[in-house]
Structures are given as structure tokens and as C-alpha cells.
């Protein structure tokens, strides 16, 4: 029976919306005003990001079923492994010689980005599978770059067209990932290495700190690299007949 509220999907749960709003609000308010930084706004972001998970573990929030809980726990474990491994790499690097961190906050931001990205990607692969996740990520990548090209060069059509050509490989890989996932995975890994080298040199030229550079790498190259790994590691699933 349709009611005037039927447009609101009854299966839509409020928790993701509330936590997403807190995260966004925290980021937007964190810079505060010109004279004052609203540092407490960052706490809103943390609350939005980690609050629901804590409540679920305490048993006070039961909005996920067993599959979703298992996917969340697996994603959390992957984030733990990634952050743990990188922590030791960082410690070894710092102890290998005289190092100076420009800003302590940068290091915390780097680990937050690493944790968040690993958790998000693992969750998506659990829900959608490697192929669908890679396909959608590549479409989002290509679409975001295309929008950026249009926004920055809309007054120069030829320049806009030339810049837009950069997005073609992303859309091509998205299409290829459905047909030949392992080959596309290898391509994405190669592309990740290429962009890593390119960005490293760019950052060096601009004098960006190692931590800032690493955070940018995670957010920019991370999805490509992780998609490549996931596609290459995916088992080839056989078609099962409907009736056994």
C-alpha cells in the first residue's frame, strides 16, 4: 500500500545519514572563523566516523545483520593490518637517520587517511566484489577528472578536450575490468607505479613534506593500486546452474 511517505525507502537506515552528516559538518566547521579555529569540530568528525561502530560493539546499536557485521569486522582487520605494517615502516624510516616532522598533525592525518581508505575499500569489495568495486571506482575517478577538466578549461574548448583525454584510460579500464579482470588489474598496478613515480617527483619539486606527499598518494593512487590487487586476486567464479 502506497502512502505519502512511500518515496522514503523503508529500508533506508538513519545511522549512515547521521554519521555522514557529523563527518561532513566536522570538516566544514573545523576551519572556524578567521580569528578562531573550531578545533572541537574535528571531534564531530571522529564521532561520526567511529561512533556507530563503538555502539554496535557495545550492543547498543543493532542495525546490521550478520553478513554486514562480518564485512565490517573484516574491513577493520584489513585496516589494522595496513596501519600496523605502515607504522613499523615509518618507525624504521625515522630511526634510519635524522628526520624532522614539519607538523605532528600531518602524521595523524596520514594514518587516519590510511585507516579510512583501507576500511572503505575492503568494505566495498566485501559488498560488491572486486569487479564491481573496481568498475565503479574507475568510473568515479574518470568522472571526477572529467568534471575538473571541464571546470578548469571550460572557456578554452580545445584545451578542455585535450585535458579530457586523460580520463579515457580510466573509462577504458572500467570497461576492461568487467571482461578481463586480471589483465586490467595488472594495468592498474602498472599505472599506480607510474603515478607514484610521477607524483613523487612533483612533490619533491614543490618541496612538499613526506607525510603530506604520502597522504596524497593514498587518496589518489590508493584506489587504483587496491583495485589492481583486488582484480588480480579475485577467484574466477564458475557459472552455477540454477537447478542442480
Amino acid at each position: 500500500m502506497k502512502t505519502k511517505y512511500s518515496w522514503l525507502n523503508p529500508r533506508t537506515k538513519p545511522v549512515p545519514w547521521i554519521s555522514g552528516t557529523l563527518v561532513l559538518l566536522g570538516f566544514l566547521l573545523a576551519n572556524g572563523t578567521r580569528s578562531e579555529t573550531w578545533w572541537w569540530a574535528i571531534l564531530l568528525t571522529g564521532l561520526g566516523a567511529f561512533g556507530p561502530g563503538l555502539l554496535r560493539e557495545l550492543g547498543w546499536l543493532r542495525d546490521k545483520d550478520e553478513f554486514q557485521i562480518q564485512a565490517s569486522r573484516r574491513a577493520g582487520y584489513h585496516a589494522f593490518l595496513a596501519a600496523g605494517l605502515v607504522s613499523f615502516l615509518w618507525i624504521a624510516f625515522i630511526r634510519s637517520g635524522p628526520r624532522h616532522l614539519k607538523a605532528a598533525e600531518e602524521l595523524a592525518t596520514f594514518f587516519a587517511a590510511l585507516l579510512w581508505f583501507t576500511w572503505l575499500f575492503s568494505s566495498l569489495v566485501n559488498y560488491w566484489g572486486a569487479r564491481k568495486t573496481s568498475f565503479r571506482l574507475l568510473l568515479i575517478y574518470g568522472g571526477a577528472w572529467l568534471l575538473f577538466c571541464i571546470a578548469s578549461e571550460w572557456m578554452h574548448p580545445l584545451g578542455m578536450l585535450m585535458q579530457s583525454l586523460i580520463t579515457v584510460p580510466f573509462f577504458a579500464c572500467a570497461w576492461l575490468s568487467r571482461k578481463w579482470p586480471r589483465m586490467t588489474g595488472a594495468l592498474l598496478l602498472a599505472a599506480s607505479i607510474f603515478f607514484f613515480v610521477l607524483l613523487s617527483r612533483l612533490h619533491q619539486q614543490r618541496g612538499l613534506g613526506l607525510v603530506t606527499s604520502a597522504t596524497t598518494m593514498i587518496l589518489f593512487i590508493g584506489p587504483l593500486f587496491a583495485s589492481g590487487i583486488a582484480l588480480m586476486a579475485e577467484r574466477v567464479s564458475e557459472e552455477r546452474p540454477l537447478a542442480v
Binding site: 529500508r11 553478513f67 554486514q68 566484489g129 567464479s237 552455477r240 540454477l242 537447478a243
Partner: protein, 71 residues
């Protein structure tokens, strides 16, 4: 482990994934994951699924060859 959830859903119950999910108290994603073989449900969920289709759990889920005790 293999399962015949999709088969029974079409043949016995003739319901959608969403409807089945609602009946057993899980999300549609969970039913999708089970049917694709990407997730093995808990005993409780397996029993609920079997009850919806009116079959036994063994008719719904089977160990792959070499996965169980052999005499």
C-alpha cells in the same frame, strides 16, 4: 560449500531477493552474497531460510566434495 537458495527461491517460493531478505530478517545484500557463494550463513539464518522454503538445511546447503567426513 554450495547452496540452492536461488533455485528454491525461484521454484518453491517465487519471491524476490528483497522479499526473502525481509522474511528472514536480513538485508538484500546478505541474500545476494549467499546465492553467489560469497558468504556462508550462520546456523540460525540457514534454519530460517530452510523454514521459508519448507525444506531441510541439508537440502539447501551442501558441502563440496572432499569437505566432509568420509567413511
Amino acid at each position: 560449500m554450495t547452496n540452492r537458495v536461488r533455485y528454491f527461491r525461484f521454484v518453491k517460493a517465487e519471491i524476490s531477493q528483497a522479499a526473502l531478505a525481509e522474511r528472514v530478517g536480513v538485508s538484500r545484500q546478505t541474500i545476494v552474497a549467499i546465492e553467489k557463494g560469497n558468504y556462508n550463513p550462520s546456523v540460525e539464518l540457514a534454519l530460517r531460510l530452510a523454514a521459508v522454503f519448507g525444506v531441510t538445511v541439508e537440502q539447501l546447503f551442501q558441502l563440496e566434495a572432499g569437505g566432509g567426513d568420509e567413511d
